[in-house]
Symmetry: C2
Subunit: 395 residues, 2 copies
């Protein structure tokens, strides 16, 4: 039979990068290209305890249908917690539990976007979200990143000239892939600019709790008094990504539409995972757990930094990062980045070419992304050494 | 701030039925309107045992990211099981694990449908799926049901006259809401007709394992040698709906596109639930479990039938049902169905008005749906008595 696919599916082009990365999970490769939390970051003993207890106490609650909005005790706890700790969420806001934060990107796009409408995003930005926006046939407009976050002048110019902008997508903390953190001043200004142009902000904050240097900054959502910001939170990097539990905190009116869209996609999110997250947050010392994670990633990042200083300097440079899971590295002028990535891969060190994170992957780019949470310390040291040796072959 | 919602969201109209059912979960109401599995149908002791063991053996596997296609051992086991037991899935097919079967409806629609394209469906049909199709702005064309399934003459006429038909949506076993099972002859003919018109069949089979009378019939997918049928299976009615685990078995080419769409929606389905389903299917006597479920529903349906014979005959009639969770009842001519449902609700018996399941809920309809899995035996007897008394007030 011949299949007549939808235009949105027909327009999804096969990626050149996917070809390069196709074999990146082959055995023997050093996985600097992934984005998985470190295996020792999972609180699996606590989860086992919580899970056993809830399947003894309230098995039917964990196994029966739930409501689309999410498990009520988790919604209530998160609402109070995010308000108290991060000033996220106010009177005009509501909360929706999602099947991972990726579903927040999907549902907001479904709720706001017609084909051809514009999404502003940081350039570079997280490929998973960009692909979600593309699946709704968004026009993606990338705004360049500076050392302290998005380029405000270019953002303002885009807000003035682009048509039918529905939202700005930003990851203010330890951005994926650049590792960059947006300054406080820029956060305030991004809020004002978007508000003044009637454009929503989709603030994605999966890594905010993983700061291992510098000081916490307020989220953009914390300035929101006018229903401008949809905040996407996630348990993937702080409890478990396999559970697929995320959440959206944003204007009631928008959340209500997202609930209807979610009902048509998966009815509700896995109940066991929602209850485990609730009981883990409330029955254990959650702040101590987060502190433990920061120690794990501080240590791993210092292994990376030491190796980069030894093997990269002065040829390969990297952006400053104070948290998260990624380092963004730039090759010297004249080095063909895609050739470098291929050559490194032949030597078993696998990184992601920077073009993967652009709205147009045919644009020139000398950067690549390193993940330091997945590899072991030994793999990290070995991988950086290989990359350092590889770049010398291009000079 | 003013929100400019997408056309697809703007076109979702508030339902008159939702207003009627708004208070259906109020305490004291008899829940004949739900669709939950019976609480004693959950194998929660086995799930507790499996869950504890997997969080001891392989906690990281359960908590780490997985692949979009689904947990490989579950995919392999289901592929072999469905092929051997139900002749579902052949050389040209692949399997995708989804976040409940609802996601199969969503992903196939996303993969095939442009706005305004046509979906043929049974009339009446499952409201959840109809709403998913509506969220993609499908043109829904309802084909009337007969005692042995869809009206073939009307199906053929629609296949000939409607434009841009992407698929026929059907629930051949114990259909929701009508309880009707499609005859073997009609199954074969539906396959041939759709194939000959180049239209896919979306075969939704959530209740197939819950037959408590008559003989099992082959699925439409079992005839498929040409990549015509996408089969949607689910663990919701046989293990647990709260886990949100379903699956699609269909043409490789279509599944591949659905995988890309799923990646953008929720990356992958909850890992714990996928592993629990796999270990439950392989480590326990799954066939004995299914037999136990059939006994539970056979007993509950006999409570319902006895009560209906006592309180409904001769005024309210019902369609024959040999499995599933629902009975479809028809009021005498001249009775206003919506008024009847409202009046019954005032007396604490809550059923779903039949119009909820139509492609156009303003069409005339004298039917309502009863669920017999959620209420206790006592609630079932009391509810039917109230409905029987209520109808007399209209005569």
């Amino acid at each position: 039979m011949d299949y007549n696919f939808s235009d949105r599916v027909k327009s999804l082009k096969p990626s050149a990068i996917r070809e390069i990365l196709k074999n990146s999970s082959a055995p023997g490769l050093i996985p600097l290209s992934a984005g998985n939390p470190a295996p020792d970051a999972f609180p699996y003993e606590a989860i086992r305890e919580v899970s056993q207890k809830l399947l003894e106490d309230t098995p039917i609650e964990a196994l029966q249908y739930g409501v689309t909005e999410g498990y009520a005790p988790l919604r209530e706890h998160l609402t109070a917690y995010m308000k108290k700790k991060h000033h996220v969420g106010g009177e005009g806001d509501d909360i929706l539990i999602t099947s991972g934060a990726q579903q927040v990107m999907d549902l907001l796009t479904k709720t706001l976007l017609n084909e051809g409408d514009t999404v502003l995003c940081e350039a570079p930005s997280f490929i998973g979200s960009l692909n979600t926006f593309r699946s709704y046939r968004a026009k993606l407009v990338g705004i360049p990143m500076e050392e302290d976050g998005i380029d405000l002048a270019k953002l303002e110019a885009a807000l003035k000239t682009e048509k039918n902008i529905k939202y700005l997508y930003t990851i203010p903390n330890f951005q994926n892939p650049s590792g960059i953190t947006m300054s406080l001043e820029k956060r305030k200004r991004v809020y004002e600019l978007c508000r003044d142009h009637g454009v929503m902000v989709l603030e994605d904050n999966p890594y905010g709790d993983l700061r291992f240097a510098g000081e916490d900054l307020p989220s953009i959502k914390s300035f929101d008094t006018e229903g401008v910001v949809m905040y996407a939170g996630s348990f993937s990097k702080v409890v478990s990504p396999g559970m697929r539990v995320g959440y959206a905190i944003g204007p009631k009116e928008v959340i209500a539409k997202m609930v209807v869209c979610k009902q048509g996609e998966d009815v509700h999110s896995n109940m066991w995972a929602q209850i485990v997250c609730h009981r883990f947050m409330t029955g254990f010392d959650y702040e101590a757990h987060l502190q433990g994670l920061r120690e794990i990633y501080r240590r791993k990042s210092s292994v990376l930094l030491k190796a980069m200083e030894e093997h990269f300097t002065p040829l390969i440079t990297w952006s400053k990062f104070e948290g998260g899971l990624f380092a963004w590295c730039t090759l010297p002028e004249g080095v063909d980045m895609l050739e470098f990535v291929k050559r490194a891969m032949e030597k078993k060190a696998c990184v992601v070419p920077g073009t993967a994170f652009l709205t147009d992957e045919t644009q020139p780019c000398r950067a690549f992304r390193i993940n330091f949470s997945t590899p072991t310390d030994g793999q990290l040291e070995e991988g950086i050494k290989i990359l350092g040796e590889t770049v010398k072959e291009f000079i």
